[in-house]
């Protein structure tokens, strides 16, 4: 047997155009490293320098990511990583989430006496993990990116070290996260065993050319990977961890998690779901049963997400369950995507608007939360409109957007999603989804009732920090802009998804 020619020269070097496509990732990693260094520099107060570096690197990354959207697709690292419209779209989303979360948490950490620079470094690492999840095409790399994101998240959740609730939340998240990652990994192993490759593009190619590769082990592996992702996005049977973690974690982190981590998980989920080969004719996948199972999961996710949220008085837990409900709507999008003309575009749009809405809401909550992040209850909000008209107006816009009332982005994206779901023939699922969202309308409006219509014995007056006010205002503007003129956003998502 002669020696195998392993070394392939083309893999060694990186062409200049590949470098530019790696721009965003390099910015973020560079930023985090620099931040770590400045954290320990004696003279400059870490508080300011680390934040500035973090924001600067995020902005640099956004700029370079913006070029990628229009640039055509370039493959990197022997096909393991790709820089196409899809990944650029999500990169911008994650970078924006990170930037806005940092803006919201600067004053928050000061109030909570938690001003450690590690916070921002870990935030950058987690963002890096997310960006990779959206752009890697190889199962192992996706797993590693997932781990980068999750490890930083576990630490960030447990960041308030001497608070029992924060530790408890972090530990719960860690253990269940680890178990779920193991399940995902085992699925990858089974897929590898059936198709002989990690690259999802290869898997798709091999499965479509030789359908007999779809052995029971393949389906088993595929379902385990799907379950791994369902856990990450907190679909109902696997959602139990989310409310506790959201309640225990510091508020900006909850905001960061509910938007960033969910979006990243969905980004990877979409790529993997397409490559599993079930997309062509979802009704017939795994003997027609995959469609039914996903249908049921989507329904119970929407139903229980909304119904339990109805009973919550703690704001963070309520938004956690509303996030579960939104996962339900996204799952409806997933089921409908293969057969609808708009494909996965509605999911992307929904994720974008969902991120803007929730981030805005959580920034407001971080501004509202008092010392020690006491759990924020509904009646703390009563009469807020009288003392902070603009803040409560912003919160009302976000709530109306989550409830899906017309002039807001939430409405545009939710009904673009249902619109494409109807085209895919899922009429009864959409009717049920619509009825669940009516339950949602109730508890979103209940918050507005407390703010506007109750006498004000709630929180005492407090100063709204400038940074947070700026980010909230920007998000309100985005929500209304997308709500009134959604066509630009729809066009972008459609173009991005076309090359998927």
């Amino acid at each position: 047997m002669e020696a195998l020619k392993i070394v392939d020269p083309s893999l060694l070097g990186l062409t200049s155009e590949q470098y530019s496509s790696l721009g965003p990732y390099l910015w973020v990693v560079g930023g985090s490293l620099l931040a770590m260094i400045f954290a320990v520099v004696p003279f400059i107060p870490a508080r300011i320098s680390v934040v500035c570096i973090a924001i600067a690197s995020l902005i640099g990354a956004v700029v370079s990511a913006a070029h990628q959207i229009t640039a055509d697709r370039t493959d990197l690292f022997a096909g393991m990583m790709v820089s196409d419209g899809y990944s650029a779209f999500f990169n911008i989303l994650f970078l924006a989430t990170a930037a806005l979360s940092i803006l919201a948490s600067v004053r928050y950490l000061e109030k909570q006496k938690l001003e450690y620079p590690e916070y921002y470094v870990l935030m950058l690492f987690s963002t890096f993990g997310m960006m990779l999840m959206a752009s890697t095409l190889d199962l192992i790399s996706i797993f590693i990116a997932l781990e980068i994101m999750s490890l930083s998240a576990y630490v960030l959740v447990g960041f308030r070290r001497n608070d029992r609730r924060s530790n408890e939340a972090a530990m719960k998240y860690f253990i269940l996260g680890a178990a779920a990652s193991a399940i995902l990994l085992y699925g990858t192993a089974l897929l590898y065993g059936s198709t002989g490759s990690f690259l999802i593009t290869d898997i798709l190619a091999r499965v479509t050319t030789k359908p007999e590769l779809m052995t029971p082990a393949y389906h088993l592996g595929g379902w385990l990977v799907i379950v791994g992702f369902l856990f990450k996005v907190a679909a109902v049977p696997f959602h139990m961890w989310m409310p506790d973690v959201y309640e225990g974690a510091p508020t900006p982190i909850t905001g960061f998690m509910t938007t960033g981590i969910k979006a990243a998980s969905f980004a990877a989920f979409v790529r993997v779901f397409i490559s599993l080969g079930y997309g062509k004719d979802i009704e017939a996948a795994i003997g027609g049963r995959l469609h039914d199972v996903l249908w049921v999961i989507a329904l119970i996710t929407m139903f229980f997400g909304n119904v339990i949220a109805l009973t919550q008085t703690n704001l963070k837990r309520m938004l956690a369950y509303s996030s579960i409900a939104n996962t339900g709507y996204l799952l409806v999008g997933m089921i409908a995507a293969p057969h609808s003309e708009a494909g996965y575009a509605p999911i992307l749009m929904y994720l974008a608007t969902y991120t803007v809405m929730n981030l805005g809401a959580f920034s407001i909550l971080s501004v509202l939360s008092g010392k020690g992040d006491t759990n924020l209850n509904l009646h703390d909000l009563s009469g807020l409109a009288r003392r902070h008209p603009w803040l409560s107006f912003a919160f009302a816009v976000f709530l109306f957007s989550m409830a899906g009332i017309p002039p807001t982005a939430g409405f545009a994206s939710k009904y673009y999603l249902f619109y494409s779901a109807i085209q895919a023939g899922e009429i009864w699922l959409v009717v049920l989804a619509v009825l669940c969202s009516v339950i949602g309308v109730y508890y979103y409006l209940r918050v507005i009732v407390y703010m506007y219509m109750r006498e004000n014995e709630g929180l005492e007056k407090f100063a709204v920090p400038a940074l947070a006010a700026f980010s909230i205002a920007m998000m309100v503007a985005m929500t209304l802009q997308i709500g009134i003129l959604p066509s630009k956003m729809i066009a972008v998502t459609k173009k991005v998804v076309a090359k998927l």
């Binding site: 781990e147 972090a170 530990m171 680890a178 990858t188 990690f198």
Partner: protein, 105 residues
């Protein structure tokens, strides 16, 4: 090479599955967080073995590469996990999952 008394690939995979489920049941049943972490390691090892077995069957190096990365991930994970455990121990003075029921409903 007498082929008939060789170990069939599905047997190896079933063995991995068994180890995996023993690890999983350990995570579910045991209350001591340390043991839970160990069981997670056990599950990851089962997956590693499955990777190597498939690599061997498919005559492809991918499996072994994957194992290499999984070991690294497991290391990082347990580092953070134990860090969390220490932080929790410092405040809750216990490693029992039954104590941490503060966040519910």
């Amino acid at each position: 090479m007498n082929t008939e008394n060789l170990v069939a690939p599905w047997v190896v995979q079933s063995f991995c599955a068994m180890i995996f489920f023993i690890g999983l049941s350990g995570v579910l049943v045991r209350r001591n967080i340390l043991v839970i972490l160990m069981c997670v390691e056990l599950m990851l090892n089962a997956v590693n073995l499955s990777f190597v077995a498939y690599a061997h069957q498919l005559q492809d190096m991918g499996g072994q590469m994957a194992v290499f990365f999984i070991i690294v991930v497991a290391a990082a994970e347990s580092a953070v996990g134990l860090g969390l455990l220490i932080a929790m121990f410092r405040t809750l003075k216990t490693v029992d999952t039954d104590e941490i029921r503060l966040l519910k409903e």
